[in-house]
Symmetry: C2
């Protein structure tokens, strides 16, 4: 058996970022930039007024006060979107609105609240202001030629706004991986069909599709392959048009487990592993015609946890992410736990935070077929390979599956939660 880290390393060393694609900037939200972006001009492009008021020469109002206002001649009015037609001369003021370019000759703006109109074309200024007052300098946000974003950065909403600021309608980002999803098993039934004896609904394809979407990929459902070589091979070949293939079921030691054989038979390099973990353990990974192929175990929880640990980081790497793994916190365990040695357990748990402390509590049923345990969990507690017991109060590592829910939950909300529903 190999460790989780050995499996992750073997997998990730064979995964490369996909190519880049040009998308409208709003579609680039949350994706990783695949080019350096420089600013074609200063932002703002010219000095402009931070306020509504009067553009003046600071020296003309240097003596102004409430008691002895300076009186200036208002020669023009300029609002955002336009330029003053003339330069400001001595003793002159130009009415100016927020965002409008500072007129030539002016070097400061006096807030409208510090002024008073005097007759038709004069204004009284009640406040002395230094040069630069209420003036936003050209290039104050971004300088012409500056590298605003480097390739490899993930774009947030403000970054989308910044790209618009630069006048960019589109930008290069890494492609989203298309992920072919195949469930295997004679017992599986498609949704909408009526179950016969011995049949259960195919749930893995749907849970995996949801996990693919959460990891930024596009799921390509291949349906259900029956436990025979022809059907399996046909479906797998279909999957090779995607960027990555995930199968569930058919990798354990049973007589009817064919996926392993087919994967090996189609050529290329395949590894069939027993990974020192629970849930999960049997897994196949390799590349078929250059495409990564994951053979995950078939029990619903094993499938999801294996996806979490091995497929999700691969999908993030394909999209150019540098942070491939979940946030990990140190948390206080609320109850004792026991297990046998050798395999590391990933215990489905509810993590919660109060002030600066994190707590974790396992959800009740931990069988690898008990999907409702995964519904309720927002974290996986790492119960180390060679440990057999953890006492109540022990400090443990927890991988946060839902950072928001874990940060928001107070421990009293989750302690003793017995319902099936998620506490979010």
């Amino acid at each position: 058996m190999i460790s989780v880290e050995e499996a992750q390393e073997a997998i990730l060393s064979r995964i490369q970022p996909l190519g880049r694609t040009r998308v409208p900037i709003v579609e680039a939200l949350g994706r990783v930039l695949a080019e350096d972006v420089r600013s074609p001009r200063d932002i703002p492009p010219w000095p402009n007024s931070a306020m509504d008021g009067y553009a003046v020469r600071a020296q003309d109002v240097a003596q102004a006060s409430k008691e002895r206002p300076a009186t200036l001649r208002v020669v023009e009015e300029v609002r955002a979107g336009f330029e003053a037609k003339r330069a400001l001369g001595p003793g002159e003021a130009i009415r100016i609105m927020t965002g409008a370019p500072i007129p030539r000759g002016a070097d400061a703006v006096v807030l409208v609240e510090e002024t008073e109109k005097a007759g038709r074309d004069e204004v009284r200024i009640f406040l002395a202001v230094p040069p630069g007052e209420a003036v936003r300098a050209a290039g104050e946000d971004v300088r012409e030629g500056a590298t605003v974003f480097s390739a490899g950065v993930r774009l947030n909403a403000a970054a989308v706004g910044m790209l618009a600021n630069l006048g960019r309608p589109t930008v290069h980002v890494y492609q989203k991986p298309r992920v072919a999803i195949l469930s295997t098993g004679d017992e599986l039934l498609d949704l909408g069909e009526t179950p016969k004896a011995g049949q259960i609904f195919n749930s893995n394809s749907y849970a995996l599709a949801a996990q693919v979407i959460e990891a930024g990929g596009d799921p390509v459902p291949l349906g259900i392959a029956r436990d025979n070589a022809e059907d399996l091979e046909r479906h797998l070949r279909e999957g090779l048009s995607a960027d990555l293939v995930v199968t569930s079921g058919g990798v354990s030691v049973g007589d009817f487990d064919l996926v392993k054989g087919i994967l090996g038979g189609l050529g290329s390099e395949m590894h069939f592993w027993r990974v020192r973990m629970k849930p999960g353990k049997p897994m196949a990974f390799g590349t078929l015609q250059g495409k990564p192929v994951f053979g995950l175990p078939g029990n619903p929880v094993s499938t999801m946890v294996s996806f979490e640990l091995f497929v999700r980081p691969s999908l993030l790497k394909m999209q150019g992410w540098s942070r491939l793994f979940r946030s990990r916190v140190e948390a206080r365990l609320l109850h004792p736990m026991r297990k046998s040695p050798e395999r590391r357990h990933y215990v489905r748990s509810v993590a919660a935070r109060r002030e600066e402390e994190w707590t974790v509590q396992a959800v009740e049923a931990q069988g690898s077929n008990i999907l409702h345990s995964m519904v309720r969990a927002n974290a996986l507690v790492v119960f180390p390979e060679f440990e057999t017991k953890l006492e109540a109060g022990a400090k443990v590592q927890a991988l946060l599956l839902e950072e928001g829910s874990a940060l928001a939950a107070a421990p009293e909300q989750v302690t003793g939660a017995g319902a099936l529903v998620s506490a979010r």
Copy 2:
């Protein structure tokens, strides 16, 4: 001036969840359920084998050991997806695969590793097992008739799998709000056009569209309205086909600020507020023909922070969320900060976590026109209304805008970060 909390309360008391819509279960990922979901049958539907092995009567192997194996007659083989044709009699075993229904008459499964074939149709059993061994009980995951999910729950990937488990192809969730987005200003230019003197690109529409998407809504871009009554009114009326309208610009005291007048003029209840906050302050909110309308300030950072505090919680409430606000952590401030009293500042900051402690550091430029500050921030530090200084080391409240990035960053990665690019 009113407080942020007063504005939030006034707004949220006027926002109701939208109606429900039926979607395929994979599309329900991350959305809030708008119906109670009960299980139509036990999951699993029948007792089944947890392992590959032999289904037996426990009493037939009660004396079995490595030295004195029990020998049973193998009468059938059953794999997942099928049912045994006959009931198990005394002295008999049925070869069984993981997931296959337990044959009538059998009450335990012996792992294949604990057995050995003996001739054509016999098996030697080396281990005594109790009744129920390696048998998954019917209804062990979910009982028939149980409420698996209640309306109001947000669906995670495992929940999507669980719905498939129940045989549900579709489910009712709350509708996504369609959000009309309008930028106002004569100075604004559409992307792809060539700037003339005094013109800047419309960035607010794009940043707002990205914020709408992050909050689960569908943006409906209305483009740019010029600073005249006709153009504004025409665009606003167009926006009323959406579920909510957001405008940016045109709500401050300037002579050319018309949005306020138009909104008031179109009838219905409108509030024009000065909110005790910075960035932001002037804001309009009301309902026009039953649709919530937000008039946000025009400076890019003010627009985004106002969206964050007022529009985002409204969109989440429309989608049935119960947790409307960002996660808040107590963090240690890495440097002193000063401000004038009266308005609460939301200081764009980088939050990071080391072990159990959070730290925050303001990004350099805090002008409300400096969009790159918002690009770098992953948190907003709350600098209370009536405080004027915070010392280095002070404990402050921080709203996490990007929980993942804040949880992942170590303080040394962000201290002194001077580049424009986000540290994620």
